[in-house]
């Protein structure tokens, strides 16, 4: 650098700086600049001018424009290369200044360079000095720079490490997190130990945010140094146990990247992950769901394994399974069949498939995410259901996937690919949405083709006409690729659906006269394939096509026509030789593919009709002999040897006819998406139909489920202290107690239950309704109006109740930790509740007076209840076996009160039960209750009438009902007008300001056979009043919902009542001997077709439910059965092995058909138990098993 140049530079810089608002600073820079530009290029002076003023003028945002302008000026890589070091000099100056604004400006320009992909690495020393800068903005940008270039300048990068190490100790969690984030992003191998330390430390940080950052850092470190894997797995294990939603997604991400094979790490966290899932951020949800899909495939049994067994009244099938193995050709059955063969003997004892509760938990907790706004989450859930759910439940995902079709075209593209795969396996699922796949002329071609694929997959006998009509429209499209695809699709429809084959063929033949050659060509190819299926009927089409050879030029089509004529030359004996003649003429000008077919045609004709075609064949073969293409020459040589008999011709020529005119199998036109589902749906590999790097294969279902107890967590966690949820929770309590319940139920994961039908306690079968009813099922409110007075022996019942209450009273002083106060509260509460009811004549409206007070009350209530619920689940194990959990007792007690005052407070009871009492008596009874004291002798060996708490279900919510809220419960009393009906008690509450008039039922939409006995019309329901009525429904012994309209004078509401299976029966009295006899008969009849079914299930009772009382209580709660008295089990249990275990028997019959339902529970030591259900109705039996199982294991 000459002094002259330096001199020149000075004024320029000075001038520039003066223009800014920061002269002084500028002066300093100016002074420094010569010193600070040791390597400054010769062009300093030349370039500085346009450069500097600009950046100053444009301020913050302008840096980019300046850069761009500069680029343009540079006009090419050469000059920009030359000028770069120079520009950087200015930046260096600015970075070295001690004014933050200048530093910031410089950093901005540098970052803009990085963003544009320019190399700014030579500024590293200047930038790294600023890493400790006080200004947060500068700091951030320096971090950005460091992360980008540290890898290239490892030595210099080390200078910055100490700053981050300091940051890791900062009291501010965000600074700790940010330091860790940058430290781990610097890909410098030498600091691996430091990173490892930092990550370990951060993993046990107080702040969940820092722990999240630690989780993010794990894969970074792993990619930097895979040898750290073992250490990192330890950290992952630790973080997996974290209970915050913030961490969950990130740590599972790390798990997937570092050690996806270590599925064992998930066991202990499985339930927690399931329960946290809904509150994890969207991206984490995707990762977790994908991981859990894989996990579930290794841990649970295939839910579709036994489905045919269940559907077809599997009992018999199982019995005879060993005999007629080979008849079962159902594909789903294959796996099973193999099993059967191997363990044919064991088959008789085979149990129906019961879904692992954890499996169910996963399905249930992911389902709400189908409503996510994030397409990736929806897709993740969809693939989970596709891979894991029982066949009957997969359908729920269709709607959500169809919704995604409204999204951006890229999303559509991916979703359609997956839908195409799914629609092959489960066509029925998407059939209702057929029209959503109709194609618009504005769709991009790739979307059109995919939609077409789906439409084709969905085509069946019923909808094919609609689809073909659509296809007709598509064929006219201007998009020729799309038209070609449509023709292919028509071909596929025609092969798959025999009925429309001729129609399609005719349609395609019409297309042969299309003006567009591509269309014609495509049609020819497809027609060729179709004709192969039934050539004899279509010689006219072949003739028609033969004529086309004159016009059509597309080689593939020509080749197809020639092949067809050759193949079916006996159908067109006159035309074929003529075609060959024409072809021979044009042979030299044809494409290779056509030439080959000409040779083929010639050969075939020669064999069938040598008289006419001998010379022609010779001619063609001669032409081919000198063709440029060696394939054609080879073919000609080969064929000549084969067909033309010579002396030397070998043995093969005898078989020439067989060789050439063998019957060729018709091609199978199948979807390119067939069998794509061996890749996990929604994955990149699935989309590409090729294994992508890092793809984790979705394992097959295991033959036998691994031990489910590995998922048990020793210390049952309390409600996790997650962030987002807490707020939700609060809200829920405020708003309504019911959803809260379902939540808390979800959280207490370990005790989750049973199978599809029974998971929601209502036993309602899948579908949308189940959620709702499920959530309401445990609601305490039900007790308020549970009428379930026993039938025959009401008096005795009453007595027992009193005893019950007494028992509670007696227990109160017993120090029972948590359960005690809550039970006390309950008593109070129930009093409180009962009061308004008791004084109903005077102050009936009290509870509804203002909705607010009510809601606040219910809030309190729910809180307590929830608490209690959790406590009940977790802590009451202490109570001794024979005593019931306190809550249950409370329920009983409350129940009793309602029992007592039932009669006077049911304004419209079913006529049979009305035996009016006066209010006075009942109210005094309540007060009396507190003073009662009797012995604890609840389980006397007499008939116990089910006294479980009645669950209330919501029929119409206050908001939807515009002030009218309706609830119902199954009162478990015989419905006297028709004993084949289930009595449903319906309670109307008018919380609106005006009165509701003429409440009645209308327009029942029932499944065949079902009947409804409507309740008498309620003339008027004043505001704030509550009224109850009883109606009867004959459910026909099925859990199908009864749908009807509930009408007021102004509005109609669609409502539906769905019975849990346990409500479809009524108790019958049976002695033990009778019971055994019935059971005996069925055991004998096992082999017979009409025999009763027996389902046996082993289960483990939890401590708190091992007591006799508890078992009886739970079973009768779950199902409307009566206990079979057996004085002492010891004397009456011969079939059971030596130490006689207590057997609890219950009997009942279904309401409609009166089929016997026998349930027995054998309890053994250590809480082991066996549940046996005998019922002629297979479905009822299986569902009942699930329900009772759930009731017992919860």
């Amino acid at each position: 650098m000459t002094p002259m140049q330096k001199l020149l530079q000075l004024p320029v810089n000075a001038m520039n700086m003066v223009k800014t608002a920061q002269d002084q600073m500028g002066q300093q820079d100016e002074a420094k600049s010569p010193v600070m530009t040791p390597d400054g290029g010769n062009h300093n002076w030349y370039n500085g001018e346009p450069n500097d003023p600009r950046h100053i003028r444009f301020g913050s945002g302008g840096g980019d424009q300046e850069e761009r302008a500069h680029l343009e000026e540079g006009g090419g890589s050469l000059s920009s290369l030359v000028t770069q070091p120079l520009r950087h000099d200015d930046l260096k100056e600015m970075l070295d200044s001690n004014k933050d604004s200048l530093k910031l400006e410089a950093m901005k320009r540098i970052v803009a360079m990085i963003a544009r992909g320019k190399n700014a690495s030579d500024l590293f020393p200047a930038v790294v000095k600023n890493v400790a800068c006080k200004n947060i903005e500068v700091k951030k940008l320096v971090y950005v720079y460091l992360v980008r270039y540290a890898e290239e300048q490892q030595d210099l990068a080390l200078l910055s490490i100490s700053t981050f190490q300091r940051g890791l100790k900062d009291p501010n969690q965000l600074i700790r997190a940010s330091a860790l984030r940058v430290l781990s992003s610097i890909r410098v191998t030498i600091i691996v130990p430091i990173m490892m330390l930092a990550i370990k430390e951060a993993a046990s940080d107080m702040s969940p945010y820092v722990r999240k950052t630690a989780a993010h850092a794990i894969p970074k470190l792993y990619s930097l140094d895979p040898e750290q894997k073992d250490c990192l797995i330890e950290v992952i294990e630790k973080l997996l146990a974290d209970k915050t939603t913030l961490v969950a997604g990130s740590v599972v991400m790390a798990f997937e990247e570092v050690c996806p094979e270590r599925i064992d790490l998930i066991h202990k966290n499985y339930r927690k992950l399931c329960n946290l899932l809904i509150d994890v951020e969207e991206w984490g949800q995707v990762v977790i769901i994908n991981m859990l899909t894989r996990y579930a495939r290794t841990q649970f049994l295939n839910p579709n394994m036994n489905e045919s067994l269940l559907e077809e009244g599997g009992g018999e099938k199982a019995f005879y399974g060993s005999d007629n193995d080979d008849d079962t050709d159902d594909e789903e059955d294959k796996e099973e069949k193999e099993k059967k063969k191997t363990e044919a003997t064991a088959i008789v004892k085979r149990k129906p498939y019961v879904m692992d509760p954890d499996h169910r938990l996963l399905l249930r907790n992911t389902k709400p995410l189908l409503q996510s706004r994030n397409a990736a989450v929806v897709m993740a859930v969809a693939q989970l259901y596709f891979h894991l759910a029982p066949k009957a439940e997969v359908g729920v995902i269709a709607k959500a996937l169809v919704r995604l079709m409204r999204s951006h075209s890229e999303v559509q593209y991916v979703v359609l690919q997956n839908v195409a795969t799914m629609s092959i396996k489960r066509r029925g699922m998407f059939e209702p949405y057929l029209k959503s796949f109709y194609i618009r002329s504005t769709d991009p071609t790739q979307i059109k083709v995919l939609k077409l694929e789906v439409l084709t997959n969905l085509a069946n006998e019923t909808n094919i006409s609609t689809i073909l009509r659509e296809f007709q429209t598509y064929i006219k499209s201007n998009d020729k690729d799309f038209v070609a695809a449509t023709i292919q699709a028509i071909g596929r429809c025609a092969t798959n659906i025999g009925e429309v084959r001729d129609t399609c063929l005719n349609g395609l033949v019409q297309l042969l006269s299309n003006r567009d050659e591509l269309v014609v060509a495509e049609s020819v190819v497809v027609i060729k394939k179709l004709l192969q299926m039934q050539p004899e009927q279509h010689s006219d089409i072949i003739k028609h096509m033969a004529k086309l050879t004159d016009n059509i030029q597309v080689p593939m089509a020509r080749a197809s026509i020639l092949w067809l004529i050759g193949e079916y030359c006996e159908h067109v004996p006159k035309i074929a030789p003529d075609v060959l003649r024409k072809m021979a003429k044009t042979f030299t000008n044809e494409e290779d593919i056509v030439k080959l077919q000409i040779i083929n045609l010639a050969a075939k004709l020669y064999l069938t009709n040598s008289k006419q075609t001998k010379l022609l064949t010779q001619y063609v073969l001669n032409l081919a002999k000198y063709d440029q293409n060696y394939d054609i020459r080879d073919r000609a040589r080969f064929i000549r040897q084969l067909i033309v008999p010579t002396d030397k011709s070998g043995a093969l020529s005898k078989y020439a006819k067989k060789l050439f005119l063998a019957l060729k199998p018709a091609p199978v036109l199948e979807s390119p998406f067939k069998d794509r589902d061996h890749f996990q749906l929604g994955s990149l590999s699935h989309l590409l139909n090729a294994k992508a790097g890092g793809y984790q294969v979705l394992p097959d279902w295991p033959e036998a489920a691994p031990d489910p107890s590995v998922r048990n967590v020793e210390v049952k966690e309390s409600v996790p202290e997650w962030t987002k949820c807490s707020s939700r929770e609060k809200r829920k309590e405020k708003k309504a107690d019911k959803p809260f319940y379902s939540d808390s139920e979800g959280e207490s994961g370990p005790t989750e239950s049973a199978d599809s039908a029974s998971d929601t306690a209502s036993g309602s079968e899948s579908g949308s309704g189940s959620e709702e009813s499920g959530s309401g099922s445990e609601s305490e409110e039900s007790n308020e109006e549970s009428e379930s007075a026993s039938e025959e022996d009401e008096e005795e019942e009453g007595k027992k109740k009193k005893k019950n209450v007494e028992k509670i009273k007696a227990r109160k002083p017993v120090p029972e930790s948590e359960s005690e106060p809550s039970s006390g509260e309950e008593v109070k509460k129930s009093e409180k509740k009962s009061k308004p009811r008791i004084g109903s004549s005077e102050s009936e409206s009290e509870e509804d007076d203002d909705s607010e007070s009510e809601s606040s009350e219910s809030e309190e209530e729910s809180e307590e209840e929830s608490e209690e619920e959790t406590k009940k689940k977790k802590k009451t194990t202490a109570s001794k076996p024979p005593s019931k959990p306190p809550k249950k007792e409370n329920k009983k007690e409350k129940k009793e009160m309602s029992l007592l005052d039932f009669d006077d407070f049911d304004p419209a009871p079913s006529p049979s039960q009305v035996t009016p009492l006066n209010n006075f008596l009942s109210s005094s009874l309540v007060t009396d209750l507190e003073g009662l004291s009797l012995t604890d002798n609840v389980l006397s060996p007499t008939t116990i009438v089910p006294s479980g708490n009645l669950k209330t279900y919501e029929l119409l919510h206050r908001i939807t009902g515009e002030g009218l809220s309706v609830e119902y419960c199954f009162s478990r009393q015989p419905f006297s007008p028709d004993l084949h009906m289930v009595a449903v008690k319906i309670q109307f509450t008018n919380s609106a300001t005006s009165e509701a008039k003429s409440l009645h039922v209308e327009d029942a939409k029932l499944q065949s056979g079902m009947r409804i006995k409507e309740f008498p019309e309620i003339e008027v329901l004043p505001a704030g009043e509550t009224v109850s009525v009883v109606m009867g429904i004959d459910f026909c012994d099925s859990t199908q919902a009864a749908n009807f309209q509930l009408c007021t004078h102004t509005r109609k509401f669609f409502v539906s009542i769905q019975p849990p299976v346990g409500e479809l029966m009524m108790p019958i009295f049976m002695t033990e001997n009778e019971f055994k006899k019935e059971q005996e008969t069925l055991l004998q009849s096992l082999g017979q077709l009409m025999g009763m079914n027996e389902i046996t299930e082993k289960l483990t009772l939890e401590e708190k439910c091992q007591g006799e009382h508890a078992v009886v209580q739970r079973v009768t709660t779950a199902a409307n059965l009566s206990r079979v008295p057996c004085g002492s089990d010891k004397e009456c249990s011969p079939p059971v092995p030596p130490p006689p275990f207590p057997i609890h028997r219950f009997a009942g019959k279904t309401v409609t058909s009166g089929s016997l339902v026998l349930v027995s529970v054998v309890t053994k030591e250590d809480g082991a138990a066996q549940l046996t259900v005998n019922c002629e109705k297979m479905v009822i039996g299986t569902m009942l098993v699930k329900d009772i199982l759930q009731a017992l294991t919860q």
Partner: protein, 418 residues
């Protein structure tokens, strides 16, 4: 997960790149550019491209390609959804998503990208959280920034990540507390030549603009929630409450957001607000054709149909057109063969009509397919499905907010086949 992101303009220039892991050379984009060359329309570029060492997943949005480079298995929708989120974020910050805007705010966009992903895994994608870390530009602020030399990066570290509600920033204060909800319904329909509905459905969305102080807890209920067949929610909505009570209960993010989208039960017949009488014919002999389109109101529930617009992609063989419109005006671009007839308000007394002749290129064959008509319209103050918001309640805060609901019906993908 996501290794790198490139922003590419329609002419193929890469104008921004960001790497979250090791740097991937931008030459990887060549595979994409090649595919882009092959595709006729930008929409036809395959969203997923497989190259020897990488996978390229791209979206086309607002005339820009967002191209991400990934190396290992990752759900493609995950990436696509994220890329759209990036585009939305740019839109949210700068008012529009375009090349100019990104170039003008290069540093800020880069910083945003830095915050949105960590090691290729999404970190902060909620607008409220991001805005706390990097303040969006306003006119006032940019003036101040130029004067003081500060920038838009937040002075203090954000607290949003740590608040109990991840999507809402803490300490929101407004002098006028207001909450507006727009119920926008779109009719998707395909009508065939005779005017029969081949397919019709209603898709709705509830857009919210909530400017409320503190931590309001809102409950929105509908008069007739049974209409809603399929719904998807912003993460703030409590799903369980919807399931049980059919109300939307949520603590809203601050500012504009999409509360829910829904699909209206398909069993309810969709009211089609307009009918179209059309005849487009080409004569076999002579290169000529006629076009005659009339639009009239059908089931409008007593409201006026406004903003009616008919768009036709005419066949490529059209040479010129000569039409007269009785109402509104039409424009025709001979390059793209796009005919747009802007009608405006629909007057039931005097139906707008567009007719005239089309002349084909000499010797060109008669077009195979008649072009389909795409209809655009909107009806103010009406949700065509009949959905009605019942009430909006606020809990958790003392003040009285100003509440408003607006209904609009629009045509979505409304196509008339001819």
């Amino acid at each position: 997960m996501i290794n790198s992101l490139f922003l590419i303009n329609p002419s193929g220039e890469i104008f921004l790149e960001k790497h979250w892991k090791s740097v991937v050379s931008r030459s990887v984009c060549d595979y994409f550019l090649e595919a882009k060359e092959k595709a006729l329309e930008p929409e036809d570029v395959p969203p997923v491209i497989h190259t020897p060492h990488h996978y390229l997943i791209s979206i086309y949005r607002d005339k820009l390609f967002f191209l991400s480079v990934i190396q290992t298995e990752v759900p493609p929708l995950f990436v696509i959804e994220f890329l759209h989120r990036v585009a939305e974020m740019i839109q949210d910050y700068f008012g529009e998503c375009s090349e100019t805007v990104v170039k003008d705010h290069m540093v800020m966009v880069y910083e945003l990208l830095e915050e949105m992903l960590d090691n290729g895994f999404p970190l902060a994608t909620e607008s409220n959280v991001l805005k706390e870390m990097i303040r969006p530009p306003t006119i006032l602020r940019s003036v101040v920034n130029t004067l003081t030399g500060t920038s838009n990066v937040g002075d203090t570290f954000p607290t949003g990540q740590l608040s109990t509600i991840p999507w809402r920033r803490a300490g929101v204060r407004y002098t006028n507390n207001e909450a507006y909800f727009d119920v926008v319904e779109e009719i998707d329909a395909i009508l065939d030549q005779s005017g029969t509905t081949v397919f019709a459905e209603i898709q709705g969305v509830v857009e919210a603009c909530v400017k409320l102080s503190g931590m309001p807890d809102l409950t929105l209920s509908f008069m007739n929630p049974r209409l809603l067949d399929d719904v998807s929610f912003h993460p703030c909505v409590r799903y369980k409450l919807w399931e049980s009570e059919r109300v939307l209960s949520f603590i809203p993010p601050d500012g504009n957001f999409t509360l829910m989208t829904y699909h209206v039960n398909a069993q309810n017949l969709v009211a089609i607000p307009v009918y179209v009488k059309q005849s487009i014919s080409f004569f076999e002999c002579g290169s000529d054709g006629r076009l005659d389109v009339t639009v009239g109101p059908k089931q409008t529930m007593g409201k006026t149909v406004e903003g009616v617009m008919v768009t036709v992609h005419l066949p490529k063989t059209i040479l010129s057109i000569n039409l007269t419109a009785t109402q509104g005006s039409y424009t025709y671009d001979n390059g793209t063969k796009l005919l747009v007839w802007d009608i405006g308000k629909l007057n039931p007394q005097k139906l707008p009509n567009l007719r005239g002749s089309l002349s084909l290129q000499a010797g060109a064959p008669k077009p195979e397919e008649n072009p389909s008509l795409n209809i655009d319209l909107n009806i103010q103050q009406l949700a065509i499905s009949g959905l009605k918001v019942n009430r909006l309640d606020m809990f958790g805060e003392k003040y009285k907010p100003f509440k408003g609901v607006k209904y609009i019906t629009k045509a979505g993908k409304f196509q008339v086949r001819t």
